[in-house]
C-alpha cells in the first residue's frame, strides 16, 4: 500500500478516540498514510470525518483527556513521535512541522503585534537575536506577498484583512523552514478571489522552499488544483487514496463517486437535477464493525453490513476500502 520512496512522515494504523460523558467517540479509525519530501497530500472529507483530528493527533495537539491515541505508529523523519516527551514534541511543533489553521481571525493573538508573533518561533526554536529575528520576519512577510513588510511588523492582527491575516499565518508556519507543513482548511474562510491568491502563493512557495504539505479541505475543486495525491476520508477512515488525476478520472469508492457527482459545474451543460447522497453521516459511537458508508451507499450488499472493508490496491498507488468493484459493478473478488 505504501510505496518504497523516501518518506518524511509515515502514519500507520492511527486510532484516536474521545472519552466523553456520553460514551466513546471513535474519531480516527486505523488511518495510514505516508508523505514524501516535497509532496502535497490532499485530505478530503466532510465535517466530522476525522481529517482535522488525524492531523492534530500527529503532534498531540488535542486535549488529553478526553482525547486518547489508542493505537498506531507515527514516524517523522525516522523518529517515533508517539514516544517523544513533551519537551521533544515542543521542539518539533512549529519548527520542523508547521501548522496553518482554518480561521485566521482566531488563531492570531490580538494583543501582540504581527512582528512579535512571527519572531516568537524564530527566537525560541532558532535561538536568533532580536535583531536577526526582526530582519527574518520582514523577509517572511515579503515572501508571502505583504507590501511594506518592515512597517507592517508593528501592526496588530485587526489591522489586516482576512486574506492578509492568512498570509501572516503562512509566514509564521514557514518561519523555521519546516520539513512538513500541515494546512487545515486554510482557504475555507476566504473569498474565492482571495483563495485564488493564496493558492498561487502556496504553489510558488512550494517551488522555492520544497517542503512537504498536507492540505486538509472539503473542497474538491481546491484539491484538483494543488494536490499530488489525495486521501478521501469518511467516518474516521481513509476510504480511497490515489494520485490526483487518477482519483478524479477513475474514482472507485461509491462515496468518492457520489461526491464528485453532487458538485454542480461552473461550465459545460447544466444538470437538470443535482445528484444527492441521501441520509446522514454516522455518529461514530463505536468502532466500525461494518462499512460505515453502507446505509447511504447505492451499491450496498450483504457483506457491507457485516464486515468493515480494508483498503485494497486497485492499481499502483490507488487503493480503496470497499467490497464493491467499480470496474465490474459487482461485489469484489477478495
Amino acid at each position: 500500500m505504501l510505496d518504497a520512496r523516501a518518506t518524511i512522515l509515515d502514519v500507520a494504523n492511527l486510532k484516536t478516540i474521545f472519552n466523553t460523558r456520553d460514551g466513546e467517540v471513535h474519531a480516527v479509525n486505523h488511518v495510514s498514510f505516508s508523505l514524501a519530501p516535497g509532496e502535497l497530500l490532499g485530505i478530503v472529507g466532510e465535517s466530522g470525518s476525522g481529517k482535522s483530528v488525524t492531523m492534530m493527533s500527529l503532534l498531540k495537539l488535542l486535549p488529553m483527556p478526553p482525547a486518547e491515541i489508542t493505537d498506531g505508529s507515527i514516524t517523522f523523519d525516522g523518529r517515533n513521535v508517539r514516544a517523544m516527551s513533551d519537551e521533544e514534541l515542543r521542539k518539533v511543533r512549529g519548527a520542523e512541522i508547521g501548522f496553518i489553521f482554518q480561521d485566521p481571525m482566531t488563531s492570531l493573538n490580538p494583543v501582540f503585534t504581527i512582528g512579535f508573533q512571527i519572531m516568537e518561533p524564530l527566537r525560541l526554536h532558532m535561538r536568533m537575536s532580536k535583531k536577526a529575528a526582526r530582519t527574518r520576519a520582514a523577509e517572511l512577510l515579503e515572501l508571502v506577498g505583504i507590501p511594506d513588510p518592515v512597517a507592517r511588523l508593528k501592526d496588530f492582527p485587526h489591522q489586516f484583512s482576512g486574506g492578509m491575516r492568512q498570509r501572516v499565518m503562512i509566514a509564521i508556519a514557514l518561519a523555521c523552514d519546516p520539513k512538513v507543513l500541515i494546512a487545515d482548511e486554510p482557504t475555507t474562510a476566504l473569498d474565492v478571489t482571495i483563495q485564488a491568491q493564496i493558492l498561487e502563493l502556496i504553489k510558488d512557495l512550494r517551488q522555492k522552499m520544497g517542503m512537504a504539505i498536507i492540505w486538509i479541505t472539503h473542497d474538491l475543486g481546491v484539491i484538483a488544483e494543488i494536490a499530488d495525491r489525495v486521501a478521501v476520508m469518511y467516518a474516521g477512515q481513509i476510504v480511497e487514496h490515489a494520485e490526483v488525476t487518477e482519483l478524479f478520472r477513475n474514482p472507485q469508492h461509491p462515496y468518492t463517486r457520489a461526491l464528485l457527482e453532487t458538485l454542480p459545474d461552473i461550465s459545460g451543460s447544466r444538470a437538470k437535477r443535482l445528484m444527492s447522497i441521501d441520509g446522514q453521516p454516522p455518529n461514530l459511537s463505536k468502532a466500525p464493525s461494518s462499512c460505515e458508508f453502507a446505509p447511504r451507499c447505492r451499491h450496498v450488499f450483504d457483506r457491507c453490513r457485516t464486515e468493515n472493508p480494508q483498503r485494497r490496491d486497485i492499481t499502483n498507488n490507488h487503493d480503496v476500502a470497499c467490497w464493491w468493484d467499480a470496474s465490474t459493478g459487482e461485489p469484489a473478488d477478495v
Partner: protein, 328 residues
C-alpha cells in the same frame, strides 16, 4: 431601462442602505457605511434570481432590505405593485406573509427552547386565525413537504443535524404560503453531500408552489445550477446582471470575469489550462469607496476614466446589464 413586456413580481429601484457612523461624545455623524449603494433589479414570477458577490459586498444587506428588515435609506421596493419601503407598520405586517426568508445559519435562526412544531407554527399563530387542530394539521403538511418525519414535531432543534435544521427553517418560511422567499446563503453552512439535498428540495418546492426566489450565495457553481438570472455585486453596487447562461459563458464586466476564473475546477485535467485572472489586493472599505468606478483599485484593465467617473448601469445585450466604461 428595463424590459416591460413581462410584469415583474419584485421591482427594486435605486435601493440604498447607508449605516451611519457616529463618533465622539455628541455622537456626531462622521460618515456612513454604504453597504448597498443604489441597486436596481427585477425579479419575475416563478424565477430564481441569483445574487453573488464576496463577503462584505452588501448582498445579505440587500436581501434584508428587500424584505424591509432594515429601514432603507433611499429607493423603492415594489412587491406586486406595492412599495414596501413606504408601508406603515400595520400595512407592512399585513404584507409580511407574502415574503419570507431562509437564513444562512440554521443553528442561530431556530430558537433552541422551542419545539420544531412550535417553530413551524409560530407564523400561523401570528398571522392566521386557526384552531389548534388546524395548526397541527398544517404543521404535519409542511413537515411532509420538506421531508421531515411528522413524529419529530415535539423535538428540539439541537436534536437535528445541520441539513435537517435547514429543512425546519424552510418549513417555517413556507408556513404562510409566501410568493417570494429570500434565501440568504441557505447552504453555506452545510456539507457538500447535504447541500445537494437542500438545493433539490428548494427546486421541488419552487415547482410545486410556484415560488419566486432571491438566492444569495457566494458559491458560483451552485448559483449557476439554481438561478435563471444572476446579478453580481461588488462593494454595494451591481456590476453585472444577465441570464445565467450568458453570464457564465460571456461575462462582460472585468470583476465577473475574475470572479468566475477564480473558482477552482473539480477536475485536475482542466485545472492546468484555465486563464486565471488573479486580482491584486483587497476590497476597499464601503465607508470610503474609491472615486470613479468602485472596482478601479483592483481592475486589471482600468483606464484613466475609471478613476474619475462612475460608470453608468446600462443595458448591453438582451436582458443583460452592466456598469463598466470598457464595455462598448
Amino acid at each position: 431601462m428595463f424590459d416591460d413586456k413581462k410584469t415583474p413580481l419584485l421591482r427594486v429601484r435605486n435601493l440604498k442602505m447607508h449605516f451611519p457612523i457616529y463618533r465622539g461624545l455628541m455622537k456626531k455623524q462622521v460618515g456612513a457605511v454604504k453597504a448597498v449603494d443604489g441597486i436596481s433589479f427585477d425579479i419575475f414570477e416563478g424565477e430564481t434570481l441569483g445574487l453573488v458577490g464576496e463577503s462584505g459586498c452588501g448582498k445579505s444587506t440587500a436581501g434584508r432590505c428587500v424584505l424591509r428588515l432594515y429601514e432603507v435609506t433611499d429607493g423603492s421596493i415594489e412587491l406586486d405593485g406595492q412599495n414596501i419601503a413606504e408601508l406603515s407598520g400595520k400595512e407592512l405586517r399585513a404584507k409580511r406573509p407574502e415574503m419570507q426568508m431562509i437564513f444562512q445559519d440554521p443553528q442561530a435562526s431556530l430558537n433552541p427552547r422551542m419545539t420544531v412544531g412550535s417553530i413551524i407554527s409560530e407564523p400561523l399563530v401570528e398571522h392566521r386565525k386557526m384552531t389548534k387542530v388546524e395548526r397541527s394539521a398544517r404543521v404535519d403538511e409542511l413537515m411532509d413537504a420538506v421531508g421531515l418525519a411528522r413524529r419529530y414535531a415535539d423535538r428540539y432543534p439541537h436534536e437535528f443535524s445541520g441539513g435537517q435544521r435547514q429543512r425546519i427553517g424552510i418549513a417555517r418560511a413556507l408556513a404562510l404560503n409566501p410568493k417570494f422567499i429570500v434565501c440568504d446563503e441557505p447552504i453555506a453552512a452545510l456539507d457538500v453531500s447535504i447541500q445537494a439535498q437542500v438545493v433539490n428540495l428548494l427546486e421541488d418546492l419552487q415547482e410545486k408552489y410556484g415560488l419566486t426566489y432571491l438566492f444569495i450565495s457566494h458559491d458560483l457553481s451552485m448559483v449557476r445550477h439554481l438561478a435563471s438570472r444572476v446579478a453580481v455585486m461588488y462593494l454595494g453596487k451591481l456590476v453585472e446582471l444577465g441570464p445565467s447562461e450568458t453570464l457564465y459563458t460571456a461575462a462582460q464586466h472585468p470583476y465577473t470575469q475574475a470572479l468566475l476564473s477564480a473558482v477552482p475546477h473539480p477536475d485536475p485535467a482542466k485545472a492546468g489550462n484555465i486563464n486565471r485572472i488573479i486580482l491584486e489586493g483587497d476590497v476597499p472599505s464601503p465607508s470610503n469607496p474609491p472615486q470613479g468606478c468602485n472596482f478601479c483599485t483592483r481592475c486589471p484593465r482600468a483606464i484613466d476614466i475609471c478613476h474619475q467617473d462612475e460608470p453608468e448601469w446600462r443595458q448591453i445585450g438582451e436582458d443583460h446589464f452592466a456598469a463598466c466604461h470598457l464595455i462598448e
